[in-house]
Chain length 172, copies 2
């Protein structure tokens, strides 16, 4: 989040295809203490300030049960990010690396993911610690942290698929 | 992934708003051994079969540096999932819980996230273990696992924001 919109020495931009393969609906808004990209933490911390995740109707009706989990995964839309960089230079020093080797907000689909600590849920608002995004960031999903979640659905055949030395991948 | 498209007793559907707040571009395709939703694992396992993540051009040019990470976060689009359920019944037993308390593929923005083990990268293809999605699933992002990633960018003021007892959240 240290970038305005410049392209730095060593970075590579492409003319990206239109982003029309699927559509998102914003299901809420995230309230944090950070109102300028230059002030955001580079990564959230579990002892950071409490932030509020405000769900829009009707999605506030889907929170029941989330209070069982101490740790929650949050997906949000980094709506100020450019989407066209293939290589980036986080240090602005002329060296660059591929976008997919970074957790930079600049990526073809600017989705941020954070693991946060649940503080409380009340009235369609989920309070958490561990976020690093700008105040007003659109929310796209909440899920229990996979580490604390045991599937409730009945077992499936694929649950037992482990690597057995056979080719596990269908031919291209 | 155990659902065809039925609504089960105890579940609650809504008329969802149009999903037009933001657009995604599919940046690749995931090849797995599972060709039917009824066969997929409920969650990926790190000793599972090797799967191939095939990047489309020009995005295959953004992989440089990803080989440094043993563990990678994968985001994909669960393109067969309904998006309108607020409450779901994973056990089909008449009881239900809010969508956001489940890791079900059925959610307003059907994005799956997995942490996978890197096996290798060659020619725009990333081979990994730990996925649980259908063969052909569209790819939307790859990132280093946050646990193994140290930000390269210069420090930001927010990096030091910890909870100090002050109100950490701006007024609504």
């Amino acid at each position: 989040m240290v970038r305005r919109d410049e392209i730095r020495p060593g970075e590579v931009a492409v003319e990206p295809p239109a982003a029309t393969d699927a559509g998102l609906v914003f299901i809420g808004r995230i309230r944090t203490p950070w109102t300028d990209r230059m002030d955001c933490p580079r990564q959230g911390r579990r002892d950071g300030p409490v932030c509020r995740i405000e769900l829009f109707a009707p999605w506030d009706g889907g929170l029941d049960g989330l209070e069982r989990y101490a740790s929650i995964e949050v997906l949000y839309w980094l709506d100020r990010s450019r989407r066209d960089l293939l290589r980036q230079s986080p240090k602005s020093d002329g060296t660059s690396r591929g976008t997919f080797s970074l957790r930079s907000p600049v990526r073809p689909n600017p989705i941020g993911t954070s693991l946060v600590t649940l503080v409380g849920i009340a009235g369609g608002v989920v309070s958490v610690r561990g976020l690093d995004c700008l105040d007003g960031t659109p929310l796209i999903d909440l899920k229990p942290d996979r580490c604390g979640f045991t599937p409730l659905a009945p077992r499936q055949p694929g649950d037992d698929d482990v690597d057995t030395g056979r080719a596990g991948v269908p031919p291209a």
